[in-house]
Symmetry: C2
Subunit: 200 residues, 2 copies
């Protein structure tokens, strides 16, 4: 039972943000490592025919209220960004490049990107902002800047996103443990029960 | 703080079924009564542009797995019905008629309808089946049978469904306590926390 838990998230997802803030505590409590796998919901919406929550009539108002309430429940500062959702492909590329070149910095980068977007309200789809965040966690931002234009990194990212879709990931956050999928930050207690009890 | 909690559900919703099986325990623990309010998701889907979960690519497989897993977690027998989803307008009418004429039987009717559909796999959109279920909980099925054709009951039901939509209800189960909405059987612990703590 030492296979890591796959932890998928989209950088434009408030629930994904909350999940990255609490996942490491979950990880410690259950004694199973997680592999962080940022992905993109854009290609998922093309398959499901759905839209971001905040663009769906009726669900929109509930979601905006629930983002704030859920964050507050977990003690996570959250401010609804003016520009939302945003395109996060560059953030995902930056994550996987960091994973490959400076792996210890990958989680700090993910958390800093989320905080920049959902605490500071700054648009992380802007490359200068993205690089500034990378620099703030000690990543070589010049090397990253060059890498972001590299077709190999684009291809590497595309493979990850395709793999997440092939694994059935349609939302954020989304966890897979021993083949068992859990969708949503509100399902993290269920994931924890599942792992601790060996399933039911 | 004695205002009842509004508890909305759709008879074709597996999560609504699970909620009716556990809501009375929640009610006892939190010491707040609930008003049961069956509604219809069909008109909601027209507004949101969405479809039943099991008709959405990617979400479909997850949902079918999760219905079973969630029911098992709560110790609720559940079998995926062959015909799903179904039109539940007659079930909703039967509920409100019972509410008005034999109110003590309304919750037993709701639970028996759900069990007939999700335990026994029988189609409760068939009027004969619906009446048989009503009779099994001690309701005057002949009177109900006549009432189901009555425009006044149709109108009464339509008003309830319209009111649920006006209240923002877009899913099942859905709870509103002191204006605070909670969507999903997996949010019932959050609702309970909210009521016990006075919110956060």
């Amino acid at each position: 039972m030492t296979q890591p838990i796959d932890f998928y998230f989209e950088f434009s997802s408030p629930y994904g943000y909350i999940a990255t803030e609490i996942a490491e505590e979950t990880e410690k409590r259950i004694g199973r490592p997680m592999t962080w796998r940022p992905m993109l919901l854009g290609p998922v919406f093309k398959i499901t025919g759905q839209q971001p929550l905040v663009q769906v009539p009726m669900k929109s108002e509930y979601s905006k209220h629930d983002f704030v309430r859920s964050a507050r429940k977990h003690g996570v500062p959250f401010y609804y960004p003016q520009k939302f959702p945003i395109n996060t492909v560059a953030a995902v590329r930056a994550f996987y490049w960091t994973q490959d070149h400076d792996p210890e910095k990958a989680r700090p980068l993910a958390k800093a990107l989320y905080r920049t977007y959902f605490r500071d309200g700054r648009d992380i789809s802007v490359i200068e902002t993205l690089l500034e965040v990378a620099r703030s966690v000690g990543i070589d931002a010049d090397a990253l800047s060059r890498a972001l234009e590299d077709p190999a990194l684009k291809e590497r990212t595309k493979r990850e996103v395709d793999a997440s879709i092939a694994a059935g990931v349609f939302g954020s956050p989304y966890f897979i443990v021993d083949g068992e999928p859990f969708w949503g930050v509100d399902r993290m207690p269920m994931l924890e029960d599942w792992v601790k009890s060996g399933g039911w």
